[in-house]
Symmetry: D2
Subunit: 308 residues, 4 copies
């Protein structure tokens, strides 16, 4: 999404590398030498990784994003870092998100609420849905809407259904690629295809699941939690990535809890929905501000996030 | 444990039955006719069950516990209740618990703290442990202590080890049967034998597990949760019953949460231990006051608790 | 609001009296003798009070609400109870609420959300507001709307302003009296007049305040909390009654907390608003189901609630 | 407490200054030029302040703490910072705390628990108390104990009582000055004298209060909260400083909440004590790791903390 920018007024760097001496100094050296001021800094060591999120502002001359990338690479090269992740971001550019939503709209409506209250740190580029209700909600607020029908197994048959899902993803990709910074699955009814265009194009995707994962994966999480007799319920906002073995196993961003003891089914369900609405808003906000870094747990290999 | 009592000054009834009209009235009728006053009442309908916990006090004449049981049975008989559970309790008698603890003593110490502060609603009949540290803690407070060695696989070999576990349970049973109202497994190092004496004798057993079950069953729950990247951690106090398919799958009594995001391993672990200490105390208190009723979820068959 | 009902299919009783033997039995005796079944029962002793909330269903013949009231009075008379509060309610009748809202609509929108999701246990009789935004929100959902202008000090002058406030209350009273079971002040911009018609007519009124009361009363609660440096923030839903010495000092119904440490002002404010939205919904639900009883703390005289 | 150190293996800097460009760069420039590596960095802008907590490790040559202080001063001088706070700390030296405790020992016992579990990031230099129970607890663990009698109004008379308090503070000061990094008031029974030696010598002092401050200051906080009818209770760990207008109004470090609705007095009290125990441990940990910076809210002037 980022086109050549003539010069950054304010920039942001995200970095993850195997922890070793000198990483932070190398990054800071570049920023200082470029005549920028550090305005916000986080550098943390965890699980053998070193993670940086830092913001910097131009004083006089401005460097382009590409030039920053180049200089960071050069400065880090002598350290011979392995498995490094680095990203330089124009902090002055407001991000754009595509929201994908199906028939169940309470998470989408929570995002719309925050849009109206001016709480969102990003813009909604468009809404993609197979639901006329979502269409009405989007259009009444002047948000671009795309109707997508991803088929139904019963109507299409197994093979045609798979094809329809792929077609739908291709269409979504076409509508959004190059135009959005991330996707929010606000109760999207389809599991993304592991080799489909959406997971392959590496644009971040966030989803919300109505349980405290890893408990209760799958399509009946609230009911399953209720039937299990949990005393604490909740929701998880997580990333959806090509690396996930299963849906609901992507790196977690936020978990919100709610009391669940003694509640009858309907109130239990409502409590989880409260948690979902809070989780999706908070996770969306994190994404709009680039406040997470993914890394692998050194023992289990599970992909975790650190929030900065 | 309950021997023939000449007359109840104050009684307590716990009841669970398939919900149908007339249950509460039948129970209340007996209490009223006996000349007792209801002093605390809970009657709740959930998941197709009707649950009662009620306390009552004598005004003049006193009825024995057995007489109450008899009268309740008679009054309920016309309703033809299925799968009914009913228990009448002498509310004036302080309960007695046996605490089983191994090398890790922080949960035991939490209980001792509340003992010293006068917070416990029951007495500690004895402490059973394979740990000299627990012995010292118990004896310095004048609590009866029994040393039990349940063996080690490496030392005993597989077959001898199973026998040692059985011998240990038999010994514990002998030391406690007829003398305790419930067991608290305050970090006990052995899985109870499914057909062993402790699970067979039907005296309630409570244990605490360092995760928000059903996530992370097994012996490395805190580590597993950490490696999974959860943002919310916690502990679960649950019952251990003959019906449980696996350890950690007994009816849940209490779940306590703690924040877990961004924490390094050691602080994550400490937060879970905070949750365990709170969970074991709260669950012990519930048991001392007969504040739970077990019932089966009608859809999943999972055994859940309702706290009254 | 309750007109003579020919017979209750299901009833509800709320009672509060100085605790003494025999209260619960007297109530239960009436229900049983009338041939009704107790279907939900709570009887609790706290702070020297005995509190009852109980539901009961007809089996064959039905008694009118008035007849129940009469019989309860008769049965309790021999106990000579002081300061007794008793209310019999037709449990089959859905309650009706008037919502009063000013320019800030996020609490009102939260209620509308739950209306649309079918979560409300009551109907919205009408919306009363001085805001065109609230008008649009109400009318687009087919909810009766009344525009009320309660004046402005700057425009009306002090004396005229007081008169305008009184006129507004009179108008609201006229629009709603006999037609609503309770009022919800969903961010209403006027302090109710201590001797005005709304507080005098004794119909319950609920309001939400953006702090963990009694901290930060008054009109700038969120800002005050922020400037104070609290690490935990929240919101309180409370009743507004003629007895309150100050606004924000009525009996508390619900308090919801949110994390507040290290947050910049805007995020702090958003967290409190999350708490307000949750508090107003939960408190509204309690009111729709008659789940609170007010009583005075025996030491301080402060009026508290017990939730049943 | 910090004597001339020949060279820092690892250092820590805390800084607070009115936010303006160049602060972070100046600090980082010094660290880099000294040949140290930044290993942990936090630089945050809030309420018009810029706050830094950063750790750094020597690569080859080591600079003394004094030399670092000197270089930081020089580097910051051109910025003309006002109201600046800066501290350089030897991160390799384990801190030492004096614990002051009176008759109520549950907070002290919580700290002892964590001492035994190896959770504390500091050493307990000594325990100061007027309680023989505290003495026994300390001595049985081999902790240095000083008995201090700060008098009683009833015994000493008003004037003599004030003198006794002053004498006690002088004695404590003598016992600890130059030997401790901070004080923990683990339920200390005396209000520190505003002009007494302990508040004057500027060694940090932490205390825990059994309410969610600013609600319920004073000596009967738990009772006051109970009588007020709060639905959420909790505890606050805060600093005690010369600048506080009243006790309980020092900068807050940590607030811990507990559910409080419907609880009878004794359980309410126990819940608050749970919160106190968690708060004192967490706050002690923050102090041992220098994880807080005090600053004044720009609007109210109230002194707040930011946790880094």
């Amino acid at each position: 999404m980022q086109t050549a920018s003539p010069g950054l007024k304010s920039g942001r760097i995200l970095l993850r590398a195997k922890d070793q001496p000198g990483i932070h100094n190398a990054i800071l050296g570049v920023i200082q030498k470029a005549g920028y001021n550090v305005t916000d800094a986080s550098g943390k060591s965890i699980d053998g990784q070193y993670l940086i999120r830092s913001e910097f502002s131009a004083t006089k001359e401005e460097l382009s994003l590409q030039e920053f990338e180049h200089r960071f690479s050069e400065a880090l090269a002598p350290l011979g870092l392995k498995d490094m992740y680095i990203r330089v971001i124009d902090a002055g550019r407001r991000k754009r998100a595509a929201i994908m939503v199906s028939e169940i709209t309470y998470c989408f409506k929570e995002l719309l609420h925050h849009l109206e209250e001016g709480d969102l740190s990003f813009d909604i580029a468009c809404v993609i849905s197979n639901s006329r209700k979502a269409e009405e909600l989007a259009k009444s607020r002047g948000i671009k809407f795309h109707y997508i029908d991803a088929g139904k197994k019963s109507r299409d048959g197994e093979v045609a259904f798979e094809q329809r899902k792929l077609d739908a993803e291709k269409e979504i990709d076409k509508l959004t690629a190059g135009n959005v910074d991330f996707y929010i699955l606000a109760k999207w009814h389809r599991i993304l295809l592991p080799s489909g265009p959406l997971l392959s194009n590496r644009i971040p995707i966030m989803s919300v699941h109505p349980s405290l994962l890893p408990s209760f994966i799958g399509g009946h999480a609230i009911k399953d939690a209720y039937e299990n007799g949990v005393k604490i319920a909740g929701a998880t906002a997580h990333l959806v990535t090509k690396e996930d073995k299963n849906i609901d196993e992507g790196p977690k961003l936020i978990q919100i809890v709610q009391h669940a003891g003694n509640l009858p089914w309907h109130e239990f369900e409502k409590n989880v929905q409260f948690a979902e609405r809070e989780a999706i808003y908070r996770a969306a906000k994190l994404m709009g501000e680039d406040r997470y870094i993914i890394y692998s747990d050194p023992s289990s290999g599970t992909r975790k996030t650190f929030i900065l």
